[in-house]
């Protein structure tokens, strides 16, 4: 037991250090205005104030930003899942040179600087009249979400025994029918995890959104909103941190559940 005490203690210290910024965000968000700029700082608030949350939710367009982010993330997740399921299934079950080449080339997207890709996207969306619409941001986010979804789903499909589909084929099922009726139902946790992660990626995205949506404040997402508050009033820190907490805390909670699936998906992709 004593041999385990040392690593447990060390892990406690390390976690506390690494997670201190998250704690500090929460503490600042509920800080009394006078404590905000006082020394020494208050590390454990005894009289939390929720005034900053009230200000941020009702005096700023925070609710509008949250709704926009949800729409953008929802749209890009939907498109990503449809394409990701088909692509991932192709890689898992019908891999040929062409399919593999397509799958690999999707990964190249990871190399393209966002700030480069956004320039032609700005020009293209301008031509199609999509500029500054939520659709433009959702499509741009797909350049991030589709590549990862294809490979993450491939890993899940790989873990499902192919015998199930073969049995279905014998029963007269088509390949797509087998995917729909046999494979998808048993991979629901994997689908859910992939969809959630795609949603998070889109929700957290900044560079595309900032460029494509900034000129239409009614379409700002939460990340643009927070960056903008930070740019405007450097010292309204309790409000900025309250907004940050509203954006980040739900994601953090979802992530705690999601993490085990991510590890499987990521490492499966990495080791092959």
């Amino acid at each position: 037991m004593r041999r385990q005490a040392l690593p447990a203690f060390a892990a406690l210290i390390v976690c506390a250090l690494l997670l201190f910024p998250i704690w500090w965000m929460l503490v600042t968000a509920v800080a009394q205005p006078d404590d905000l700029r006082g020394f020494p700082p208050v590390f454990f608030p005894t009289h939390p104030s929720f005034a900053a949350f009230h200000t941020i939710l009702f005096d700023r367009p925070m609710l509008r930003w949250i709704m926009n982010s949800s729409i953008v993330a929802g749209l890009s997740t939907a498109l990503t899942m449809v394409l990701g399921v088909l692509g991932g299934y192709a890689l898992s079950r019908y891999s040929s040179r062409a399919v593999r080449a397509a799958g690999m080339s999707v990964l190249l997207a990871k190399m393209i600087p966002t700030t480069l890709l956004v320039i032609p996207l700005y020009v293209l969306f301008r031509e199609y009249g999509l500029l500054a619409t939520l659709t433009s941001a959702a499509l741009a986010h797909c350049t991030v979400t589709i590549p990862f979804a294809i490979w993450m789903l491939k890993a899940y499909f790989d873990s499902i025994p192919v015998e199930l589909e073969e049995a279905a084929a014998i029963d007269g099922s088509t390949p797509l029918g087998a995917l729909w009726r046999i494979v998808l139902p048993v991979s629901l946790p994997g689908l859910g995890a992939t969809a959630l992660y795609a949603f998070i990626l889109s929700w957290n995205e900044f560079a595309f959104s900032r460029t494509l949506l900034f000129s239409a404040p009614e379409n700002w997402t939460v990340t643009i909103g927070i960056a903008s508050i930070r740019g405007e009033y450097i010292i309204a820190w309790n409000e900025i941190m309250a907004a940050s907490a509203i954006v980040a805390v739900p994601i953090i909670i979802v992530f705690l559940w999601l993490e085990r699936y991510l590890v499987v998906g990521l490492t499966a992709g990495a080791q092959k």
């Binding site: 749209l75 939907a78 301008r126 500029l131 500054a132 900034f214 239409a216 010292i235």
Partner: protein, 419 residues
């Protein structure tokens, strides 16, 4: 598998539903501004918007904020992307580059048709480019000094009337403040426009100008160098908190942590937020500088690329806010002076005696022909501001000699003019 099918169907429906939701209703006017919540201009804007909506049933004004320091860039991206706002609000110093790109509608025909009398309209000449009127000036101002009488008193100094007294007062307040309060407050972080404005206030006091009447930069003259030196001195001596924006400095002033702040009349609105016990201490006076900064502040305009119905709607809006009634309302609601002649009524002056100080500062700036926009850099002001800002920042960081910095600014400004 009906559950999965339902999910897919719902998502598909969502996709379809979300697309047309973006279409605009024809009577919604998009209006982006940095003045949506400044407690001064914003009070008037909101009232005027309401009046417009009441007079035009079915019309709504979408009045949305874009922060000041990214405003010019954002508007340029918006116009370039062919998604301009309906009602165009710009700072005076950024307006010419938009006129240059032919993004704005010539308002002359509208003005002629409705007989809008712009004679004596403060600063309106800045809106005229090559005989065409591209905008209507909304604010002409002179810089003022807002000060905290209690802080000055506890440091044992009087209200300063020149640079020497100003510096002395700043030093005494800062020394007495122990890091909690400061003599002055300067904008010392990103946001080129504000940077240049505050720098210019120092340069003007030393008798300098960015350029002469012929448009040739005069940054390497002794007067400008002296202005740079003073501005730098306030920072290296830490008479101001560092790394903050003008908005933060204003907030600290309102909290009673800054003794003297040179700023425009719009600052007055913020005093509504002051704690009652502090309120009597926060006062306004003419700037201690010999030549106050001043000039045109912001303008209203119309995009050239707009349907005739929308143009009419936008012109109706411009007509409303420039009317005698709404110009008087501007003075009453924002606590600032309006550009339209005779818009300051005796009744309003009686309730807002500080407006006399505002008027004096404005007249002084106008008499000396001061404006923030330097001659010769009208259409490249954005770039000009960015280069001066970068060099000025470098001067403080590297503790460089203002004379050398001025020389580098001068050569970069000349290069900018050559294109």
């Amino acid at each position: 598998m009906s559950r999965l099918r339902n999910i897919v169907a719902a998502v598909a429906l969502g996709l379809v539903a979300a697309l047309p939701a973006q279409a605009q209703t024809p009577t919604k006017l998009r209006f982006y501004s940095w003045q949506t919540d400044d407690q001064s201009n914003s009070v008037w804007w909101l009232a005027a918007n309401k009046a417009y909506e009441a007079a035009h049933p079915g019309a709504t004004i979408d009045f949305v904020k874009i922060p000041r320091d990214s405003f010019a860039d954002t508007m340029m991206v918006m116009f370039s992307g062919n998604t301009p706002p309906d009602i165009v609000h710009l700072a005076s110093f950024e307006f010419p580059s938009f006129a240059q790109e032919e993004f704005l509608e010539d308002l002359s025909p509208y003005i002629a048709k409705d007989g809008l009398d712009l004679k004596g309209w403060a600063g309106q000449e800045k809106c005229v480019v090559k005989g065409k009127t591209y905008c209507i000036n909304l604010n002409y101002f002179g810089y003022l000094m807002f000060y905290n009488a209690a802080l000055l008193k506890s440091a044992g100094v009087e209200v300063p009337h020149n640079w020497t007294e100003y510096l002395d007062a700043a030093r005494k307040v800062t020394a007495a403040g122990g890091g909690q309060s400061f003599g002055v407050g300067l904008h010392t972080t990103a946001g080129a426009g504000q940077y240049l404005t505050e720098l210019l206030a120092m340069v003007l006091d030393a008798g300098g100008r960015w350029s002469n009447a012929a448009g040739k930069p005069t940054i390497d003259t002794p007067e400008v160098i002296e202005g740079l030196r003073r501005w730098k001195q306030l920072q290296t001596e830490k008479q101001t908190p560092l790394g903050l924006k003008a908005e933060d400095i204003r907030q600290l002033f309102v909290e009673g942590r800054i003794a003297m702040r040179l700023d425009g009349p719009w600052m007055w609105g913020l005093l509504a937020k002051v704690k009652p016990d502090l309120r009597p201490s926060l006062l306004v006076a003419e700037t201690p500088t010999a030549t106050p900064l001043g000039g045109t502040s912001n303008v209203i305009a119309m995009p050239a690329n707009l349907s005739p119905e929308r143009k009419k709607a936008v012109w109706d809006y411009i007509k409303l806010i420039t009317s005698q009634h709404w110009q008087e309302q501007y003075v009453a609601l924002s606590g600032q002076l309006a550009p339209r002649p005779n818009s300051l009524t005796p009744e309003v002056l009686a309730t807002k005696p500080f407006l006399a100080t505002f008027q004096a500062a404005q007249d002084k700036a106008a008499a000396k022909g001061i404006d923030r926009l330097p001659t010769g850099f009208e259409t490249t002001y954005n770039e000009f501001a960015k280069l001066i800002t970068e060099e000025a920042q470098r001067m403080v960081i590297d503790n460089a000699d203002p004379a050398n910095v001025a020389r580098r600014m001068q050569s970069r400004a000349l290069a900018l003019q050559r294109g």
